[in-house]
């Protein structure tokens, strides 16, 4: 079986390269005075908004052979259901991976929205279920439920969603959700249930994932940890008599040669302001287990980008260049493909890749890296990499 590869929609703004820090490409932040730095914005009211740029990326991704893209959702970024519906008509194959927390929507509303979006897109919607980082940030979202309770709620949410989808009348009396004789009307009821990618690293998360997820989704972690994590998820799921696949979300930086790739990282690293580095050293917030696992990887001393090299082609400073996860893959096209193949051997069945700028890099990765990935066909036959 082949590997599914997704791309990412940069909802958190887009610098013009890994070197640049100003994320205002495509008028992501029209009120910001720095936008003249972006090199891709009209300035003033030219009638274009950020969705026009995102539409370009979605088209580039589908033309370049990606399944679709994750549309990440942060407090101050655009909303993924809106983006998906806006792009439905002008994309052909692009699958919209919508992250959301169960606290955002009543599950019946979520079912209706999903079925409607499936009809609007010809079945191209799928979920990334997130249960939330916790702490004060959950109350920013207006969500007062505590960390471990939230996974119970996620399980209930998906119980209800699946129950409604399977055909009414469906009733449920849970701690968080109640419905009575619920169902979807024709023809919404005829749509495919969305595939579910599930994020979360705690025990409570794994329990919920093993019940409902099609794909367990992890950030890239050190390869031995990823291997253990995937093994644990698959074991728990086996116990329930279900099958689950595993997937990894990872930033990559691929160039014709490894030297060029590291030069790009080096320039990006040199452009990090001192106060950003200082803040990075002091960071400690939120009760997300995944985030704290990544914090443990910080180097003790920071003098050069090289201090962030964890293992061949694995660099742990990506979150210093832009928001998001820390680990990423840096190297030649062959290097990057070989690392992805290694991850397949460790249990990955799918990837969500990203690189900056997402528009041009979608073409590059689709044309240069994906053709080199051997996937499961290469099992037990890993090529040697210098």
């Amino acid at each position: 079986m082949t590997i599914d590869v997704f791309w990412r929609i940069p909802t958190h703004g887009e610098p013009s390269s890994h070197r640049a820090r100003s994320p205002f490409r495509g008028d992501w932040f029209p009120g910001n005075d720095n936008r003249t730095l972006s090199g891709l914005s009209g300035g003033g009211d030219d009638g274009f908004t950020y969705i026009d740029y995102l539409a370009e990326i979605a088209r580039a991704a589908e033309i370049s052979g990606f399944q679709g893209g994750l549309i990440p959702s942060f407090p101050n970024t655009d909303e993924p259901w809106v983006i998906s519906a806006f792009l439905a008509r002008e994309t052909k194959n692009f699958r919209f991976m919508i992250p959301f927390q169960p606290g955002f929507l009543n599950p019946v509303t979520a079912a209706r929205m999903t079925a409607s979006l499936q009809r609007a897109t010809g079945g191209r919607a799928l979920y990334n279920i997130i249960t939330g980082g916790g702490g004060p940030s959950q109350l920013w979202w207006g969500d007062p439920v505590k960390h471990d309770d939230r996974y119970g709620r996620t399980t209930e949410f998906l119980d209800v969603l699946k129950g409604i989808w399977a055909g009414g009348p469906f009733s449920y009396n849970g701690q968080f959700y109640q419905v009575e004789d619920a169902g979807l009307p024709d023809p919404l009821s005829k749509e495919e249930y969305p595939e579910i990618y599930f994020s979360g690293s705690s025990d409570a998360a794994l329990a919920s994932a093993s019940k409902h997820a099609d794909y367990y989704l992890s950030w890239l972690e050190p390869f031995d940890l990823i291997k253990d994590k995937f093994a644990r998820v698959k074991e728990r799921t086996d116990q329930l008599g279900r099958k689950i696949k595993c997937s990894i979300r990872v930033d990559i930086l691929a160039r014709p040669t490894e030297e060029e790739a590291w030069r790009e990282i080096s320039r990006g690293f040199d452009n990090i302001p001192k106060d950003v580095l200082d803040r990075y050293k002091a960071q400690n917030a939120g009760d997300s287990v995944g985030a704290s696992r990544q914090r443990g990887l910080r180097p003790q001393t920071i003098n050069s980008y090289k201090d962030f090299i964890l293992s061949p082609n694995i660099w742990t400073g990506f979150n210093l260049l832009r928001g998001g996860q820390t680990l990423g893959i840096v190297g030649s096209y062959e290097n990057v493909a070989a690392r992805l193949d290694e991850l397949v051997q460790l249990g990955a069945d799918a990837f969500i890749l990203a690189s900056t700028p997402h528009l041009e890099e979608a073409y590059r990765v689709g044309e240069e890296v994906l053709p080199l990935v051997r996937g499961k066909a290469g099992a037990g036959n890993l090529r040697a990499v210098a």
């Binding site: 703004g13 992501w28 932040f29 029209p30 009120g31 910001n32 009638g47 908004t49 950020y50 969705i51 539409a55 407090p75 101050n76 970024t77 655009d78 909303e79 259901w81 809106v82 983006i83 998906s84 519906a85 806006f86 792009l87 439905a88 008509r89 002008e90 606290g103 955002f104 929507l105 009543n106 599950p107 019946v108 509303t109 979520a110 209706r112 929205m113 079925a115 409607s116 979006l117 009809r119 609007a120 004060p136 109350l139 920013w140 979202w141 207006g142 969500d143 007062p144 009414g168 009348p169 959700y177 109640q178 419905v179 009575e180 004789d181 619920a182 169902g183 009307p185 023809p187 919404l188």
Partner: protein, 354 residues
């Protein structure tokens, strides 16, 4: 300010002209069963569905001069915010008035959704917030177990929180239904237009809530006298904050009154509804309510219907939410033949002369 005209999108199916049978136009009911007989090749297969038709109705409303589209929330139909997003990039001008109730989930998330709509459409997104279905069992089917007497209080909190996070940082709120701590949008999501809020209802409580929050109060179709009374009563109750008034009403307009009556009778005959004894009235209660959700329809010649609409405008109505079956063909008809007459009749100079 010029009057605004919204055309309703048929989110849960539409009929065709002269045939009241509701169907999903553009969509094969059974994808395996050819619609054409054995005589004609059917090239469509599953290339289109009802969304393509909704898109055509939107373009029809845009081309024929409406101000916006009204996207009703019918539990048997497509979800309004998905529909709004789906059509948004096909028009640079139409306002998107979406209907929903406050049981849909987090008010913060609804506000976030609205910000993206506003960012991507230049502020064309608007909210018509309803109390949802009046039947308790139907509400429970939709996952809403809040008692009937609390529904207005929930709408109040929903709007307070949504407006709060859209306009204030940090925003804090602890209510019975919603709680926010240090909320509010920043950076690219800050300082976007709050969606215009439409509310409806004629009870004292509903009017009070509307006076507190609404930019536009939606009146259901009724005779001119009733509408005049409702507006007067509202303005008395809400003297500090008089919003605009919208009227939700259907229209069946034809070149002549005789043609309009004939089509109206045919429609009622096909739906099995009784034909009113008194055909002289312009306003037929319940005419296509099952299809459009509107209380009543104006039935008459282009001139008669336009004059009736203009008379509502003279009473203080500034926005019209119009519909007729079938929505595609009738958007062109109403936009081409009725709206220009209403605009002519309500031009400021003529109002003064009247």
């Amino acid at each position: 300010m010029a009057n605004q005209f919204y055309w309703q999108l048929p989110t849960s199916g539409d009929a065709r002209y002269g045939d009241a049978t509701r169907q999903r136009r553009g969509e094969a009911a059974d994808p395996n069963y050819p619609v054409f007989g054995s005589g004609v090749t059917d090239p469509r297969q599953n290339a289109f569905n009802y969304y393509d038709y909704i898109h055509q109705v939107t373009k029809a409303a845009d081309i024929s001069g409406f101000t916006g589209v009204f996207i009703p929330d019918n539990p048997d139909g497509e979800e309004p915010w998905i529909v709004a997003g789906y059509i948004a990039r096909s028009t640079q001008r139409l306002k998107l008035l979406t209907q929903f109730d406050a049981s849909r989930g987090s008010a913060v998330y609804a506000a976030k959704n609205a910000v993206s709509f506003q960012r991507y459409t230049g502020g064309r997104f608007a909210w018509h917030i309803t109390e949802g279905n009046s039947d308790e069992h139907t509400r429970k089917q939709l996952g809403d177990f809040v008692p009937k007497e609390d529904i207005l209080a929930r709408i109040d909190e929903f709007i307070t929180v949504a407006k709060g996070v859209l306009t204030t940082y940090p925003f804090n709120f602890v209510g019975r239904f919603f709680e926010v701590q240090d909320g509010g949008f920043q950076g690219p999501l800050s300082s976007r237009e709050v969606p215009r809020v439409y509310l409806s209802g004629s009870s004292d409580e509903q009017v009070a809530l509307s006076a507190k929050h609404a930019d536009v109060h939606v009146l259901e179709a009724a005779g001119h006298e009733t509408i005049a009374q409702q507006i007067a009563r509202y303005q008395q109750a809400a003297s500090t904050n008089a919003p605009e008034f919208a009227l939700r009403i259907d229209v069946l307009a034809r070149e002549t009154r005789e043609e309009a009556l004939a089509d109206a009778k045919r429609f009622l005959g096909q739906t099995g509804a009784p034909i009113p004894k008194d055909e002289s009235s312009l306003l037929w209660p319940g005419f296509a309510a099952e299809y459009t959700g509107a209380n009543a329809s104006l039935i008459g010649s282009y001139d008669e219907v336009a004059a009736a609409l203009a008379a509502y405008a003279n009473l203080g109505v500034t926005q019209f939410v119009l519909a007729a079956v079938p929505h595609f063909e009738e958007a062109y008809r109403v936009g081409s033949y009725v709206l220009p007459l209403v605009r002519e009749l309500t031009r400021p100079a003529q109002k003064q002369a009247a």
